[in-house]
Homo-oligomer: 479 residues x 4
Amino acid sequence: MHGRLTGRTPYAERVRSARLVYLNGALVGDVGAAPAFAGALEAVEGYYALQAERPEIHLARRADGAAIPTSLLVPETAADLAKKRASYKEIADLSFGMLGRTPDFINAAVMALGAHSEVLSSDRHASYEDNARNYYDHVCANNLFIGHGAINPQIDRSVSMGGSGHSHAGVKVVGHDSAGITVSGAKMILTLAPLADELLIFNMPGLQPGDEDFALAFAIPVSAPGLKLICRKSFYKPEYSTFDHPLANRFDEIDSYMILEDAFVPWERVFVFRDVARSNAFYDKTYARNHAGHQGIVRGLAKAELAAGVAVRLAEDLGLAGAPAVQEQLGEIASCLELVKALIARSETEATRSEAGVLTPNIVAIQSMRWNFPRMYQRILEIIRSLAPGSMLAAPIDADFAGENGALLTMALTSAKLPARERIQLLNLAWDLVGDAFGQRQLTYEYYHAGEPGRISAGQYKNYDWRQERLSVARSLEP
Amino acid sequence: MHGRLTGRTPYAERVRSARLVYLNGALVGDVGAAPAFAGALEAVEGYYALQAERPEIHLARRADGAAIPTSLLVPETAADLAKKRASYKEIADLSFGMLGRTPDFINAAVMALGAHSEVLSSDRHASYEDNARNYYDHVCANNLFIGHGAINPQIDRSVSMGGSGHSHAGVKVVGHDSAGITVSGAKMILTLAPLADELLIFNMPGLQPGDEDFALAFAIPVSAPGLKLICRKSFYKPEYSTFDHPLANRFDEIDSYMILEDAFVPWERVFVFRDVARSNAFYDKTYARNHAGHQGIVRGLAKAELAAGVAVRLAEDLGLAGAPAVQEQLGEIASCLELVKALIARSETEATRSEAGVLTPNIVAIQSMRWNFPRMYQRILEIIRSLAPGSMLAAPIDADFAGENGALLTMALTSAKLPARERIQLLNLAWDLVGDAFGQRQLTYEYYHAGEPGRISAGQYKNYDWRQERLSVARSLEP
Amino acid sequence: MHGRLTGRTPYAERVRSARLVYLNGALVGDVGAAPAFAGALEAVEGYYALQAERPEIHLARRADGAAIPTSLLVPETAADLAKKRASYKEIADLSFGMLGRTPDFINAAVMALGAHSEVLSSDRHASYEDNARNYYDHVCANNLFIGHGAINPQIDRSVSMGGSGHSHAGVKVVGHDSAGITVSGAKMILTLAPLADELLIFNMPGLQPGDEDFALAFAIPVSAPGLKLICRKSFYKPEYSTFDHPLANRFDEIDSYMILEDAFVPWERVFVFRDVARSNAFYDKTYARNHAGHQGIVRGLAKAELAAGVAVRLAEDLGLAGAPAVQEQLGEIASCLELVKALIARSETEATRSEAGVLTPNIVAIQSMRWNFPRMYQRILEIIRSLAPGSMLAAPIDADFAGENGALLTMALTSAKLPARERIQLLNLAWDLVGDAFGQRQLTYEYYHAGEPGRISAGQYKNYDWRQERLSVARSLEP
Amino acid sequence: MHGRLTGRTPYAERVRSARLVYLNGALVGDVGAAPAFAGALEAVEGYYALQAERPEIHLARRADGAAIPTSLLVPETAADLAKKRASYKEIADLSFGMLGRTPDFINAAVMALGAHSEVLSSDRHASYEDNARNYYDHVCANNLFIGHGAINPQIDRSVSMGGSGHSHAGVKVVGHDSAGITVSGAKMILTLAPLADELLIFNMPGLQPGDEDFALAFAIPVSAPGLKLICRKSFYKPEYSTFDHPLANRFDEIDSYMILEDAFVPWERVFVFRDVARSNAFYDKTYARNHAGHQGIVRGLAKAELAAGVAVRLAEDLGLAGAPAVQEQLGEIASCLELVKALIARSETEATRSEAGVLTPNIVAIQSMRWNFPRMYQRILEIIRSLAPGSMLAAPIDADFAGENGALLTMALTSAKLPARERIQLLNLAWDLVGDAFGQRQLTYEYYHAGEPGRISAGQYKNYDWRQERLSVARSLEP
């Protein structure tokens, strides 16, 4: 009933293609074999496996009957959005929401770009509109994993990109001919990019006149000559097990710094070329933000559920859940989860149809989540920390249990409520969320992954329909 | 198409019935003629007027065809809940959500009591189950305005009600015979009760063994012998106009302290009699909390909309809306409004059918609002205050504009953005919300009107379905 | 040992001089006889009475042996600052810190202006340096009560004062001749000004080039022709007693909006004339901010002590103080009080000697208080509200106790811990602090009375000596 | 002038004595040679080196003329407290406050125990009073590094220690004879204990009747038979340099879990034996909390200074410091630092003399810091995170600069404001503070290292002198 989707080359092969990925100062020969990437790679493979295992959720059909990942489906009905949500959630649950940039994320955006490519128009070099539409077809046909790079390095915020004269304040066009463009420069925080097939490079809104050379959008294979990915410090700890680090040692979705040196992009893969207005329109006016945001808030729920579960388990297993103050905090967490679920639902029930007929998740609901969710999530972490501040920092490691002190520790740390190893593993899970670099990067991600929060909130003010509110004021002042 | 609902006696007449209401230390002869009650009275009359003006929203039919207020409708379908919501909202908009205890509030609870009266059972004195069902019929048939008294005076929290030996720690049975019961004691914060027809007297959950004498629920007319209502200080300021106090001088829904002295209640109006367990079950197990709560969160939206509108208008009219930090704050308000709307929707989409077949708004969504809404609302007030802290406190009054300085003030206080009087009126509106006793009582109401917040949140923890969260923890710890 | 200080005319006479004060839309014939001003007037009279009652604290001597109020003393030693602090505190305790603009506040600034008048320099019209010095002598000699007006009306913040073309965006020079200057325009939030002898009119820093016409500072008698004070809505409630409103009905230090219409100021009383730079230097470079700020933080302590006492009393008298969560909150209040005391001490121990030899309270400590104190104080109010949210709104009034229900209420509201009237009065006190307009204006005052908080905090960054912090960073990065 | 203090055996030798320390699951043969301990060891050695380098600060004399570390000085004058503060600060600056348990911390407590040992009394087994006094002499004479273990493992908080029947809910006496006692059980969070000479084992207040077997205090050498220290996961990352982790790779003051198996303690080293009341009095009534707390708040300042410096440097070096909102945040940090300094000063100026004549830092000031400091410090971290959320996660590592991409990265990441490596190192420093497990453990430490915050705050309520506050309430209610 559901078609089987087969990219021409399986991902497991594609990911082992040559690419210049640097980790811990050295070139990673084969990202498919690097221990630091193993957990994330398993999750991406899990993403593809779900397409085979549960095609009714994870596969959809194009008008021509071709099977595509659900994230690439152009949604036209509430059921389409619901199906996309179901797919996003199951994918997110593979990593408990810890992987933010699984393929479905940018797929949702690529779909929106394709469907609203008229925003991109054309010039004498190319029809960017056609390019975007064709790129969508290309991603569909090959079931690709597209990463992306949108954030320009924060070199010096007191000057504009163009005004800085700095060659690496972003990605810059350094030449073009009839075949394509040549680009150099840098982007930062390319998450999970070392494991991607191709990268979508663009800018978030905010470019100024004078930034033309940086006003670009294009797609480029990870393996393209001139493209290097320098990974940040890894949160994978080779000296510890997944018992010791249940999350950090499985789900570090490595961020990387991308440098381009005279990399070539054929016109077919260029979507914006030296055009500040279209660069600023790229993410919002194509509704890429809406569709990727829909994925994002569903994924956020998966993360919140794990954190909430940790808080409840800690409270109950450490014998704290009888205290009224603790119950109040756990209830607060429940009230937060409810908000998240309510916003996800609302992003769908208040979806509107775009000019192109695409059922578009409501951006006000999505941005409300973007503002509120990080604060809620941080609050959950603070509650977790307050429940077991000392115990998390007093946990013996896996190897201790295996060693000469194993029996002693097992005896000393077993309570009437749960056995020692289970207790310690739960505390390790808590620490990975609230204390480990892994967890703090996860928190930082929630605050900042969709752009500068102040700018998002200002946009919310500008986009919001204040008619009812203004009417209330006017009526309240009537004599 | 919609029936016309006529109580046997119109409210305007009923409200002028004899009753012992004390305001500013004196007996109010006729509450219908007291200036301090005029605004609230107008709103209650507006409530009844809406039934005539917009019956398609505000009237519904019982199975027997009788027309009843929509708030008394037993909801069976999503459309029923939507209709109730629409009715609640239009009623709330009459007072911008400032009147919390309009008749629809407790009507929703009376409906739930009637539909789930089996919770109340019977004993050798009476069938409380029948009493509750009949009371619903009575309220329907007469289109009454039922106030209520649920909060026991905070005499000394270090002792229990029963243990305190204090006669006025609540309402207490002091005698009973075959006709009914005799009660004495006190309840506090009977909001809008001076304008009601009858009062529903009960306890929120939390009574302890030993509190039997206080473990009562019954209905009693406001005019019953032995019932006195002592009003708190009024926020209505006779020396100022509604220009000066756009809200305080129109919508003070006076709270009162009720004293009962040997008041008689016939068995027909008794719903709980000396039964701690049923007293504790009264509000929750009958789903009165769910239905009244549904009204409450819809009403909250009306209040938030006015406050949000004031913030936006102030920012724009005082020339502040261009500042990024102000835009960020206004966007935060939009994100809060969206949360409120999302929770209201969710309380309905996640409604469940009770044993009695009533479509019951989801309590988790409602209690999430109860936890989050006061904090959001307080945040809106803080933003308003930060926009015009000085200007609110520098406003000339209505009489100044009318007096010798009128022209001068008009000139001095008119800006390119708006004329002086409009500007001052807007600032007065803002001050009523954030600074006046009226506004602080409104804020206090949001925090506490549904019960002690810590207890509500603890209940949220206990009621929440944590299966998904526990599952996430379990899966994350799998090897 | 301490001289007796006698202004030529006693304050009680001076305050009854002719002045154009408008309250509730009407000209107040005699501010000394207006009930709404009675409480504040009593406090100002108390200020003068203290000079007679406790001259060892409240009087000091100038070099020439003349007795002056301690607030006018030029401090040269730690003992001088300690004496000033003691005087400020006793004056503040008269009103529990609720009157922010008692004469000692601006006296401290006038002293600083006199001592550092070289900042004001001179031009071809006048020696402003001499004027300021002479003004100090004048205030000393006459033991005056100087009010002040510094805040320009918030007409339209999107345009500058000068650029707005608005005649009442501040006070503006409209003419000058050899005798003096003629000024028109407006200032807002002139606190307690109706009861003052003279007003010091100036701008807080922040004027821009182009604002020259508004760049003025001068002194003017309250009775000057062309000067009108329009009072905001009064928080004094004629229909209630001081039992009902223990603070609001005694300590409303009315704010007013001042309009000047072609008022004349002789050159001798002009301190800044059409000079943006000196206008911006007026408050900070003369250390007026330091000395007035010293008074301000000492006064703040008096307010915090009352609020803290209310919290403790409520917790204990309502039987809540045994709960760990309540104890934690009360401890938090104690920790806040301690911070306040520590900052006051530090403002003195870290005082520095100005070029003029004046021992100058440390501005970093003072501004730390300005940032932190409002937040702490708001937190105390929130704790108070949480302790008695309902009871505060269920209080019968004074007249109820005197009336037919008096005995009944006395019985019903007396607990084992305290009698009914005492309990209600305590709740009334709490409500005046947290709920009444009086209390919210007090809170607003703490946030904003010393200027825009963001600007104050930015100034704190710019003024702070970051050497130790930079050194720590540098050392931590050494190999 | 300052004597030279020489313990009989130098610390560098003592630390290499045999001890059962387990790290990463294996017995550490020689803690003096373990890379994970190297940084902390260097800091402890730095502590001893300071005694030689700056004896005028770090050495003091006993009455008998013997030189002792300043932390062991019995303070009698303000100058003594100031000297102790100076010593604490220089020691803290060695690690920027990151090492909380340097020898001076517990030294201050040991001094207090010795001086107020009468609290400990005696029984038929021993004079605990003499034992404590002698132990102080012993620590002085040998210039020892005493670690400590006070926190009982959080096995199951729903049951008491004694009631749980759990052998490892704390340290328990399992036998005694005329020579001493035999103890078994566990303590958690023994910070820096692997590098200590001896451990002081005791309980924080809070034991209940029934906990007698756990109600002990004693000293024991780290090398004692039956004592094992199991270290938590190390934050030292062998694969990264101190450029990559400027703090985590230098200052991990490893926490450990201590197990005792039938360890013997001679009566001479026992301070509390099966006595719940004295166990609860041990830390507070001897003023150990005051003196150790004094060290703690001075050390906190060192940490805050580094964090503040990082915020200022980031803002300025990334070109953000011109933004008003950023300036406001940096000013807030300055205001926080000022609070810390003010409290430290107040703890000394408000010191009181104990019965034994010891000048005792004021506990109210210290506990105010304990409540407020973690919140302030967390706020500084949040500001840091907001300044560079992405850049911290986009930093290449030391080895990248050394490798084939070094020149490229240097070019790409150098700005007009600072060179690439300096910039990245600053970001690494920021990440260690806010994102790395090291930094989160530091934050957790500030919240919890002195005991359960709620209990500390409740104690603050109970200890505070509320007379002035009660007086204000009483006076405000006078007619």
